[in-house]
Structure formats: structure tokens, C-alpha cells
Assembly symmetry: C2
Homo-oligomer: 334 residues x 2
């Protein structure tokens, strides 16, 4: 678990998009973001207070999070100065970069001497058990997609937010690196060893109050041949009571697989439900989340109305409309 | 890849069952087994020539395979003497024990100095790519089960053997440690990192002659919540043209999951076929393999006749009857 709150390191981000991890933290867990640290030439701005390392420490920040992706994922010499200084100032470091903090000899040595932690959220930090399939108390929702990168994390975060705003008990459970950085905890599922995938999901969604919901971030798709095994582990390890199907209507093929068509929402509904009921016979599909970012407002609303009529389920774009209707659908499950 | 042929190390096996890995090599790849090495007190006997290390080297053996499981999976001091001597004599070592050869400082040091290889088949030896889903030439069969440990490896080995006896082009593709030791090659799928599972299966079943069949060893079950993600990676990475459903009729619950009932053969057929057709729309279920080891002959034959009539597919026990009918069913696919 990463110590919060954070100082968000934007480095020399060439544009706002390069800082999208930091933006995610700012948007979804503003209470985790004490301020931002920008270097000369930084083109990103989260609208947070610019702080020096010392100022951020005094304001309570405990971890410097690398909230920016640079080309190639490497850790530049310019960054190094700041990162080493941060360790010396008492910060832990957290990163989702492909190149690992722990593989940088200077960072590893300074962290060792100063007793600080280096969190590389691409890799698991604990040993997970093999899943035991035991029925757990509390309730769980899982976002499943017709494809990769179609809005599952966003849907889960928005649903969690809507539930908490309604006074429901909810916890977003991260299963990927961005989600882990946003919340400070979770499972980097794609880096877990095969035998322990489902067990890692059981671990991150433990027994809870009967009226508490774990809102589990999905990964991959049952219809994406590169990653479907990862999705399957979520469907069975997560033991979901409720599924939300996520879809991006303008995709012309599966992400990264130009020769594969997307499944229909109905296909994913039927396949995911059949499989989910192996682990939890009471599982149901409660709603549809459409990512309409590439559609005009009229087109988006019309498309969603059509899906809602066809499937008879609340159908929303959480970015345009919030996820209040999904929260209500979960609240209706007893 | 492990160098063949082998000298099979039976150590101080307390009984025949403890040497079942060696027995598997002896049964399925007798050409890989030059002889056996037994220590004082060994209660197992494969009926192979007992050889000293020197004799086995002279007879062409290149790898000493630990074909015995001892209690706790550790490597005893008595074994060590033999293993160190084997390295000195020019053998590589191969093991599927839980405790790794490479973690034994003496073995690691002697292997380093002598330039020999230590193969711990529980762990991957190569970095696998992410699956690309590209259609590969040649044909593939995958054994899928209603449960774990219900005869998938045996079915695949027997099918491969039957095909080769009929003059068909066939290669057994191991996906677990015993299969890897038997053939000297394969993917220890349960130890592969999640993102690379399907890619590892693509790697081990590459392009081949149009009339060549890869007979892929299955793992887990789509209905076993602990391991279903591993099975899913086989279904999509393997891109099978044909599935054989494996079932053990006397199971009262899923292996290791006392609160989970087994699915029916029909459920596995339908679910596996739906998922397999995502990767290969032409996939079909060609036969049923029943593990009747806990049934009397009459009962077994009657049960299989019932399944065959119900499903309209060749239904056999490869141990009792061989897998000739499965080979014929594959031969009928063009």
C-alpha cells in the first residue's frame, strides 16, 4: 500500500495528456493530491498548488508519485535529481513506468540508506494465494468490456463515486497500475503469475459488511484473445454479484487485433453471465456503460437510448452523465 | 529445451507411485529413457536397465531427470551427492520439484563451473510475447476438462500416440511440468505472468504443415474458479480447430473446492466452444474422453455408451481403449 497523500510529479511533461495518471489522481482522489511539482518546460498543469519538496512535506505529502509518462518510459537524468532529493526529504516514490525505480542503482541505494520505499506499481508487492472460491460477505460489482481500453476503469471509478455521494458503502478496487496509483492500493493483475490471478482478486475484495460494495476495475475482455485469461480471473476471483458491460461503439476492430471484430453487447452479456454464475449463481447484469467520447451529443444520446431499449437495462455514459443510475441499480440488489 | 535422452533418477523412492513422473517418461517417450538410477532403498522400478552415471553417459544420456517426488519436494543430502556427481560427469539436470535446483548453492556453483544446465520446469525459461491472435497454419487440438486433474494430459498424449501410429503428423505440446519433462519441451503455463499466458501458447504451437496437428495439453477448467484464467489462455492462445472434452464421472465436487459442483459435459462443450470460436470460428468438439479409473469395466462401458448416445460424439477412455477414435475424428477434419 502506498502512503497518501501525494505530491504529484509532472516533470517536464510535453503536454497535458502526458500527465494523465496525475490527472486521474486529481480527478478521482483530490484528497490524495496535496500539490504538483513541475520542472522547467513542463506543459501540463493540474490546477493544483505548485510546491517545492519541502513545502509539500510540510503540507503532509508522504509519497512523490510520478504522474507523467515520458517517451520510452525511462527515468531521465533531469528527473533523477528531483527523485533523489525527494527520497532525502523523506518521500516514498511511486511509479507506473515500464522501467522500474528499483532497477535504478542510485534510487535503490538512496532509498535503502534513507529507509524510504520505492513502489513500482507494475509489479505485485505481495505473494497472493491460490483462489479458494469461498463465498465472501459483502457485495461486488465488476466492469466487463467488449474490448480492452473501452472505459472499464472510468466506469468503476464513477460508479464508486456516485455510490459514495448517495451515502452507500463502496470501495473502488484497482486492478491496474493507474487505478493503483489513484487509490494507493490494488493488484497489478496483468503482472501476477497465472496460478495466483484469481487468488489475487479474492485478496483485494475480502469479506466486508453485507451492504458494502467492492467496485472492481475490469481488465481486458473475454473476447480479446491476448488478455481473456486475465478477464476470466476477474470474473471468477471477483465473485461478482453484478456486472456492468462497457462498450465503445466506434471501434472497428478489437484493440491491437485488426483481424478481430468486436462482439456485441449481448454476446458479452451472455458469455460473462454464464461464466460469472459459476462463481456466484446470483450474479446479474445491472447496466451498460457506453464510452461515447468519439460521438456527438445527439448521436450519443440516440445510441444509448437504442441500447437501453434493446437490452432493457440502464445505459449511460459515465463521463457525460455520471454513474448515478448504475449506483441506483446496485442499490436495488438485496 | 531439455537435452534428450535421459537417465531417470528414482532416488530413494518409497514406492512406485512416487516415481510417476519417471513412469510417464518411460510410458510415453521410451526413446527418451536410456536407463534408471536407483539409490539404496529405492522401492520403485521402471523395468529399465540400472545404470551408473558413467554407464548412462556412455549409452548417450545427456540429462539426469529427477523422476521422483519426495515428501515436501526438497532435495535431500543423499540426492545431492548424486546430482553433483552427475554435473561433474557432464549431465544437465532437470526437475519439477517445488524447491528449485537453481536455489541450491552447491548445484548452482557446480553447474556454473562445469557449464551444465539446471532445468527447473516449474518456471518459464524464456520471455514470451503478448498474443497477437494471428491465424497460424497447421491444426490444433486442445483437451478441455470439466475439472482439474481429470485426464487431459493423458488424453492428449494418447491422442498424439494414436495419430503417429496411424502415420498422421502430430506433436504433443506440453503445458505443465510433467508433460515438459516427458517431451523435453513446453510451457509451464501456470507459472507464466498473466499478460503473456496466451502468447506463450501461441509460441509453443507455431505455424506448421497444413496437415500437422498440435495436440495441446489442457490445464485447469473453465469451471474451476481457481484456474479458469489459465484455461482461457489455452482456449484463445491455442486457437484450436478441435476440442476434446475430458471428464471423470465419479467426482463429487470440483477438485479442491468442496462447495462447487462439477459442470455437465454439455455445459463445458457449449461454453468452451463459444469461447474457442472467438479465436477460431471453425472450431468444433470432436470427442469425449472419460477417465473411468474408479469404475468397473461394465459400469465404464455402459457410462461411455450413454454419453456417446447423448452427445453424438466418439466417447472413449484412452487408458482402457486407446485414443484411436479421437485420432480418426481429427483425421476427418479438413
Amino acid at each position: 500500500m502506498i502512503q497518501t497523500p501525494y505530491l504529484l510529479f509532472l516533470g517536464d511533461a510535453p503536454d497535458q495528456l502526458a500527465a494523465k495518471v496525475a490527472q486521474g489522481i486529481r480527478d478521482w482522489r483530490p484528497e490524495n493530491a496535496v500539490g504538483q511539482f513541475r520542472m522547467d518546460g513542463c506543459k501540463a498543469d493540474l490546477g493544483l498548488t505548485d510546491m517545492s519538496l519541502t513545502e509539500a512535506r510540510e503540507a503532509g505529502a508522504r509519497t512523490l508519485v510520478i504522474g507523467v509518462a515520458n517517451r520510452g518510459g525511462f527515468i531521465s537524468p533531469e528527473w533523477k535529481k528531483v527523485l533523489v532529493m525527494a527520497l532525502e526529504e523523506g518521500f516514498d516514490l511511486a511509479s507506473g513506468l515500464h522501467n522500474l525505480l528499483r532497477d535504478e542503482p542510485d534510487l535503490a541505494a538512496v532509498a535503502e540508506v534513507t529507509g524510504r520505499s520505492l513502489h513500482d506499481v507494475r509489479l505485485p508487492e505481495v505473494d497472493y494465494p491460490i483462489a479458494n472460491g469461498r463465498k465472501r460477505s459483502g457485495k461486488r460489482m465488476l466492469a466487463v468490456g467488449t474490448d480492452c481500453s473501452c472505459g472499464k476503469m472510468y466506469t468503476a471509478l464513477a460508479t464508486d463515486q456516485a455510490m459514495r455521494e448517495k451515502g452507500m458503502k463502496s470501495t473502488f478496487r484497482a486492478t491496474g497500475q493507474t487505478g493503483i496509483l489513484i487509490t494507493g492500493d490494488g493488484v497489478p493483475l496483468d503482472a501476477v503469475v497465472a496460478d495466483f490471478m484469481a487468488g489475487s482478486i479474492e485478496s483485494v475484495t475480502p469479506d466486508n459488511d453485507d451492504d458494502h460494495w467492492d467496485i472492481i476495475e475490469g481488465q481486458g475482455s473475454l473476447y480479446h484473445v491476448s488478455y481473456s485469461g486475465v478477464t476470466m480471473a476477474l470474473v471468477h476471483g471477483g465473485q461478482p454479484d453484478a456486472l456492468v458491460i462497457c462498450h465503445e461503439p466506434t471501434r472497428t476492430h478489437m484493440r491491437g487485433l485488426p483481424h478481430f471484430d468486436l462482439p456485441t453487447i449481448e454476446q458479452v452479456r451472455d458469455t460473462a453471465l454464464t461464466l460469472a454464475r459459476v462463481a456466484n449463481p446470483d450474479c446479474q447484469v445491472v447496466g451498460i456503460s457506453i464510452n461515447t467520447q468519439h460521438m456527438a451529443e445527439d448521436e450519443a444520446l440516440s445510441y444509448m437510448a437504442g441500447v437501453e431499449e434493446r437490452l432493457g437495462l440502464p445505459t449511460i455514459d459515465p463521463f457525460r452523465q455520471g454513474a448515478g443510475r448504475l449506483a441506483d441499480a446496485l442499490g436495488a440488489i438485496t
